[in-house]
């Protein structure tokens, strides 16, 4: 597959895997409004995944469904943050906040890509990220400044998530090549703004920026946490058990 196809595919993986995670909240959120919000956010991710995986598939004649349902764990190249289990509400909201800030910068930059289709998809995604971020930023604040319990849980979530954020800003050879050609986003360039914005919000929410001494990577190389396989077994069950099944 071409470089651009591979790039679109990994971005599609990011959206698909987090979308699937967020779907797990459906009927499990603490209140009805949040249930709707989480399901709606999941739908945005799913829609984004479909656009990106269809585009990726167009380079070698594969359908979006083949890419979503018939690849094994090691063939997925999503960032690890996307596949982590939802945890409690604080964990899901803290992850969403960290990612929404990242995606705000990422899609604004990708909207300038020299690849027209990627730029168009990013232009749509950027609009959706804007309202995702309004909500997750509000929740970070509410949970941080809420009760001792909500503060402690949100802090614990940030502490656990922090080591996975380094991967957001690391480039591999594929992305370096594409960034040099004006196609891909240089993610290293997003880090300073991300850190400044996230630090301000965490501090204002009465929380501490974690000082984590570890970080983990591997997603972009297809090396995952133990959680992805379990997620895929649920996501892919129907197509694996009944190949070619359609509505």
């Amino acid at each position: 597959m071409s470089d651009i196809g591979l790039y679109a595919r990994r971005l599609g993986d990011d959206a698909l895997i987090l979308g699937q995670r967020l779907c797990e909240w459906c009927s499990n959120a603490p209140v009805l409004e949040e249930d709707l919000a989480l399901a709606n956010t999941a739908l945005d991710y799913l829609g984004r995944a479909r656009l990106l995986l269809s585009y990726a598939g167009s380079f070698d004649g594969k359908s979006e469904d083949e890419l979503a349902y018939l690849r094994g764990e090691r063939e997925f190249e999503n960032l690890l943050l996307m596949e982590l289990p939802n945890g409690d509400f604080a964990f899901s909201m803290a992850r969403q906040y960290l990612l929404d800030v990242y995606e705000g910068g990422f899609f604004a930059a990708l909207a300038q890509s020299s690849d027209e289709q990627l730029a168009a998809i990013a232009g749509k995604a950027a609009k959706e990220v804007a309202y995702h971020l309004r909500r997750s930023a509000e929740w970070l604040r509410r949970l941080g400044l809420g009760t001792d319990e909500s503060n402690a849980r949100t802090q614990a979530a940030l502490d656990e998530l922090w080591g996975y954020t380094a991967e957001l800003f690391e480039m591999d050879a594929l992305e370096e090549r594409l960034a040099a050609a004006g196609v891909a986003v240089d993610r290293r360039a997003l880090e300073a703004d991300w850190r400044a914005q996230v630090t301000r919000a965490i501090t204002e929410a009465g929380l501490q920026v974690p000082e984590t001494a570890w970080s983990v990577r591997g997603g972009r190389e297809g090396v995952h946490t133990e959680y992805l396989g379990h997620l895929l077994s649920e996501l892919q069950y129907l197509q694996r058990a009944h190949p070619g099944l359609s509505w």
Partner: protein, 169 residues
């Protein structure tokens, strides 16, 4: 609150859409497609919503260009098949629907008349957040996410009724 005039600025993309329609050799097909409604908001057609971009003939086929609203909106699939049905019924045998992503869809493409119909239907349009039931502007947002991707949930503090807002994006 002081009464003020609202200046309606029309986005360039909407102006272009209107121009394509008024100068189109397929004006009759645009008219046919006015019957295609949003399945969730039947008072609005796909033209009202700014989803319908263009209709043209390409050899024996009719090609319809649409801009999807939200990436994950499940209504888009229904709308595509409604477009094909409507044109089949109008005697067109070969219909193709093309999706155009850029410029990204904006709720600002909705005309003033469509916003009025939305309000009458009970949904507050975009920045006009008065309660559709009693008209009060004492309202609060309950959630940025309503019953569908395009709506947010509000509550009127005067009459206590909940209502949807068609989001601005």
């Amino acid at each position: 609150m002081v009464a003020h005039d609202v200046i309606e600025l029309v986005p360039q993309a909407r102006v272009d859409m209107r121009r394509r329609r008024s100068s189109s050799p397929c004006a009759d097909l645009f008219d046919v497609l006015d019957a295609v409604r949003d399945p969730e908001i039947p008072v609005l057609s796909i033209w009202d919503l700014g989803i319908l971009q263009d209709v043209r003939r390409d050899a024996d086929a009719v090609v319809v260009t649409i801009t999807p609203t939200y990436s994950g909106c499940p209504a888009m699939q229904q709308i595509e098949s409604d477009i094909i049905d409507a044109l089949h019924q109008a005697g067109e045998t070969q219909v193709l629907v093309e999706r155009q992503l850029a410029p990204a869809w904006s709720s600002d493409w909705m005309d003033a008349d469509a916003r009025r119909r939305l309000r009458e239907y009970g949904i507050a349009p975009l920045y006009d957040l008065r309660c559709p039931q009693c008209g009060s502007d004492e309202v609060e947002r309950v959630s940025e996410f309503g019953s569908t991707a395009c709506k947010a949930l509000y509550r009127c503090l005067a009459c206590r009724e909940p209502f949807d807002q068609f989001k601005r994006i």
